[in-house]
Every structure is written in C-alpha cells, then in structure tokens.
C-alpha cells in the first residue's frame, strides 16, 4: 500500500510496525509531528504515549521501559538530545536496547529550528560520559525512514544497545509516497535479562551500570569494546551513486545527500565526472566505502549542513590517499544544488571547497 506521509509521521509508523509500543518524550520543534502522530496511534495499537516533564525524565522513562523488556523509543531535537546524554550513557552502560530520534536543528545553544547537521560529533562520538558507542542511522527519504526504523529496533535488540536515528526538519516535515508493506509485526527476541519480577526465574535480575572495583569495570569496558568492534565490522552501511568513473566523489548524508545527488547530476551535465557516497550509518562510519579508491578519483568533497564534522571521519577513512575538501552551510542555511555543483567544479579545478566558514578560518579544504 502506497501512502503519502510526512517524515516525522513515518518515524512513528515505522516504529509501530517494528513492534514499538512505548514512547516517552517532551515537546520540541521540529519533531512535533512525531509525538502528535504517536499520541493517537500508540493507544490504537494498545501502546502507551506519555509526555514527560523534561527530556531528562523522558530518557529515564525509556531506561525503565527498556529494563522491563519493551521495545521503546524517544524523540527530540538537538537541545533536548543534549539533555538526554546522561541517560544515553546509562542505557549504554546497562546495555539496554532503545531507539532515540534526533531531528537536528541549528545550534549551539538555543540556535534555531531550521535544518542542520551540526550534532554529528555528539551523535557519533558519544555525547555522554564514559567509553561507549551507539549505532547512528541517517535516512535520506521518507521511505528510508520507514525501512530504517525496523532496522533500528532490530539492531538495538541484537546488540542490547541504544540506536540513534538522525534527521532534520526538512526530512521530518516533507511528504513523500511510501510503501507500507502488509507484514506481520516482528517478534522481538526473548529478553531473559529484563527486570519483570523474578517469578519463575528463581533469581533476581539486576539492571546496573555501577562497578565499584576498577578491575571489574575495566572487564566490562573491554567486553563492551568487543561488542562495539563487532558493530564496526558488521554494520557499516552506505549508498554509492555514479562513483565508478568519478573524478570527484562527494560525501553527504541525510537531507544533504539529496541535494548533493542533484548536484552530482548537474556537475556531470557540466562535464565534471562526479559521484556520491552517502553514509547510511554515521557510526559505524562506512570506512569500507573508501577502502579501494579508483585511480581516477581526483579528490573528495564533503558537504554538510554544519561547520565541518563528518569531514573528520572522511579524512580518517581516506587517510591521506587523496585531498578531502569541505563545503558547508550552517546555522540552518541549506546549500542549494547550484552552490554544491559550483563547489564540485572548484575542487575539480584544483581549488578549495568553497567560501565556507571553515575554509575562511583556514581549518579545512
């Protein structure tokens, strides 16, 4: 069945189709259509929508519901995600599965509600305290939102770890046709570790991230590091477009990747052989996409709606094999197709990425 859906609503419908029945959140723009949708849709399927008193409370309600074995999610936008960071660290430490959605907006501080990708570092580096990692998924269409929400819950359960899904106000509020498959709801894996009352078990379950003896905590950290290494090995996802004969390879994700894709076509029409690598997982970063760079590739151009964050990961992945340029607009300004195409032309001609904040400061490109 094909229907028109807003991105934010698709997040909610995708979650419900993934078997999520519990949502805890606090109002913030520009993700409002998601709680609006779940507030009626969850009760319809026997679930619970609960508006918390703060993002701090919301993420801890998620912690409780995940402890009880439920498929559970929360959603917010940049400042609210900052408030949730302590809870995300606890979720990772206690190895609790859940899905956290960040519809990113301009920052720092209150910033604005316009589309941005400036929470990349926070999302991929672990915005909370301690040695932890979580998978970050970055859909770039409403259909991909639906598909990735199911994957997000599966990965969360498979690794007993939080999974974050990031988008922005454009992706959240645009409408696109989506295919809603008529499928049986998935059966989440058994959770014998959950705190559901010890009846029939004979021993209590404990959900905890406290290990007072340093050697014990180190052993936990090592076990988690092995788990994170497995995620890095097995969960890299990306999409490649017209890269086979490309001289310039653009790297962009989410909303920015849609614009970059059109810019690739425009640049090709102008005679510059251009391709696009679109990371779908921001963590683990799809390093494998950069493992075998064709001899014909002249350089990379990273395009972001930030002052330059993912460009660091591209530089690590390319590891000096080619120049890595950057073009970005930030503060909620969305680059146009033409701007990006012009940046492609510049780097193809051996110039820097463009008149962005970072190259002006000499930091990039």
């Amino acid at each position: 069945m094909k229907v028109m859906m807003k991105g934010n609503e698709a997040i909610g419908e995708g979650a419900i189709r993934a078997g999520c029945r519990f949502f805890f959140g606090y109002p913030i723009t520009p993700q409002s259509e998601l709680p609006h949708y779940l507030a009626w849709r969850l009760p319809e399927v026997g679930g619970v929508y609960l508006q918390a008193e703060s993002e701090v409370a919301a993420i801890n309600m998620v912690y409780g519901a995940a402890s009880a074995g439920a498929r559970v999610m929360t959603s917010s936008s940049s400042p609210g995600i900052s408030l949730m960071q302590e809870g995300i660290s606890y979720l990772a430490g206690a190895e609790l599965p859940c899905v956290i959605v960040n519809i990113m907006r301009g920052g720092p501080g209150l910033g604005n509600i316009a589309p941005a990708q400036s929470d990349y570092f926070q999302a991929t580096r672990g915005g909370g305290h301690g040695d932890y990692r979580h998978i970050v998924l970055a859909p770039s269409s409403v259909q991909e939102i639906i598909d990735l929400m199911g994957l997000a819950f599966d990965l969360a359960d498979r690794y007993r770890n939080p999974v974050m899904v990031v988008g922005d106000g454009i992706l959240g509020q645009m409408m696109e046709p989506v295919e809603l498959k008529e499928e049986e709801p998935p059966v989440p894996p058994a959770k014998p570790w959950a705190t559901t009352g010890m009846r029939g078990r004979g021993h209590p379950n404990i959900i905890n991230s406290l290990y007072i003896v340093p050697e014990e905590l180190e052993a936990v950290n090592r076990r988690l590091a092995v788990k994170y290494a497995r995620m890095e090995e097995d969960e890299q996802r990306w999409d490649a477009y017209r890269v086979d004969d490309a001289a310039v390879v653009v790297v962009a994700y989410g909303t920015m990747a849609r614009i970059a894709r059109a810019a690739v076509d425009m640049a090709r029409a102008r005679g510059v052989a251009t391709g696009l690598i679109r990371p779908i997982t921001l963590w683990p970063f799809p390093r494998r996409a950069f493992a075998h760079i064709s001899p014909g590739v002249l350089c990379f151009l990273v395009v972001e709606m930030s002052a330059g964050q993912m460009v660091d990961d591209v530089r690590l992945a390319v590891n000096g094999a080619r120049p890595v340029h950057f073009y970005g607009r930030t503060g909620g300004v969305v680059p146009t197709v033409r701007e990006v195409a012009e940046a492609i032309t510049r780097v193809a001609g051996g110039e820097a990425g463009g008149q962005d904040l970072c190259s002006a400061a000499g930091a990039h490109g």
Partner: protein
Amino acid sequence: MARIFARPRALTDKAFHYCPGCTHGIIHRVVAQVIDELGIRENTIGVCPVGCAVFAYDYFNVDMIQAAHGRAPAVATGVKRVLPDRVVFTYQGDGDLGAIGTAEIVHAAARGENITVIFVNNAIYGMTGGQMAPTTLLGQKTTTTPQGRDARVAGYPLRVAEMMSTVEGASYVARVAVHNPANVVRAKHAVKKAFQVQLAGRGFALVEVLSTCPTNWGLSPVEALQWLQDHMLPVYPLGEFKVPPEMTGGET
C-alpha cells in the same frame, strides 16, 4: 522450637555496607518485611538511587534497577507503564529525591503513577562526604555549611511530605521515623499502606522516613538517635498527610 525471628526473604544474605548506627538497615528490613507479608516478592521491581543506598540492588532479593541520580521516579514510571500488574517501588535519599530529582518526583506524583516511593531523609549527603542536603536543618553543620546552615546564604529545609501532599495525583503521603522501636513499628505500618495503595491501584504513595547519619553528623549511634528526636522531629512532624478515603482509620 518455634522460629519467631528470621531474615526477611526479600533481603539477600549480603551484609550491609552501611556505617554503624545508620538506620538504612532498619528501613531496608521494614520494606523487605512488608514485601514478604504482602507476598509480592516475585512480582516486585525496585529502583535504587544514587547515594548511600546505591547498592540496594545487592540487598533486596527482588528484581532491581539502578537509576541515575534523582531519576528513579521516571525509571519506575517506565517500568510500571510496561508492566502495570507488577509492584514497582523506588528507594531514594534526600539529595536524590529532594534536590536533583525534584522534578521527577513531583511529576510522577502529579501523574498519579501507581508506584511506591520510600524517601529516606537524614538531612545530609552521606555517600559524598556530609555536604548540605535540601533537608539540612537551619544551623546544622555540614562540610559545605561549616558554620551551620544559614538561611540567608543556603535557604531553608524542604518539607517533602508536606509539599507532596499538595499534589492532587498523590494518593498516600506519610512521614515516619525509625529512631526507636515504637516508631519502627509505625514506619512499617506506613510502608505497608504505601504498597497496599499501589496494589489497590490507587496511585502514587510516598513514605518519608527520618533516618540517622552518625558518621556525617559527627555523633555516636545512640547520640544520633537522640539528635533525630530532638532536632528533626520539630521541623519534620510525623504523621499521615494524605490517605485515600477508604483507608483512613486503623493503625499508623
């Protein structure tokens, strides 16, 4: 020979880490006895705080969750919304509940969450080294009020039970103490009511328990019990502040 005294089944065999004379042990035992008497041990999930009772998951022989500082009521909300037929309680200190977690406790009550809250008030931060708590008395010396709490600088003690009793969603609110046997018995009755309120589906129940901290008060265990009686009771009067209509009367 009839066995008339035993360790509650809802406590593990692990020895408490609490300081000599600290009344956390008594309060743990009271809660465990109530869980045993109500026959809910295998149906109960407890949420422990950050503070001296952070290791409560080692002591209560029920499913336990360790929560971030102050967030136990939010965590308990998440558990209870998923498992409405289980018994959920939090065990929190005065820093956890009365300072960093004030929003969570007030709103859990406002929502009428069907949970039981055991709130231990010893007028000081114990675990971190005797700093001023929101419930520290005026004039009381702590490591962060070395000249005694001065209202002009550090404000006034927070009366949590009185405050919580003004919240419409709170169903049962009481304050008890455990500084002598008669009061321990009364405390147990209040804790039992707080669980019975949840079992009856009547919503949010909170019992504030006045407790001692000999180590950080700088007193012997016996002196600490006397200090609680002489100094805390006048500021924190005991009694039931709110009781569901059908539960009024009877022993408290």
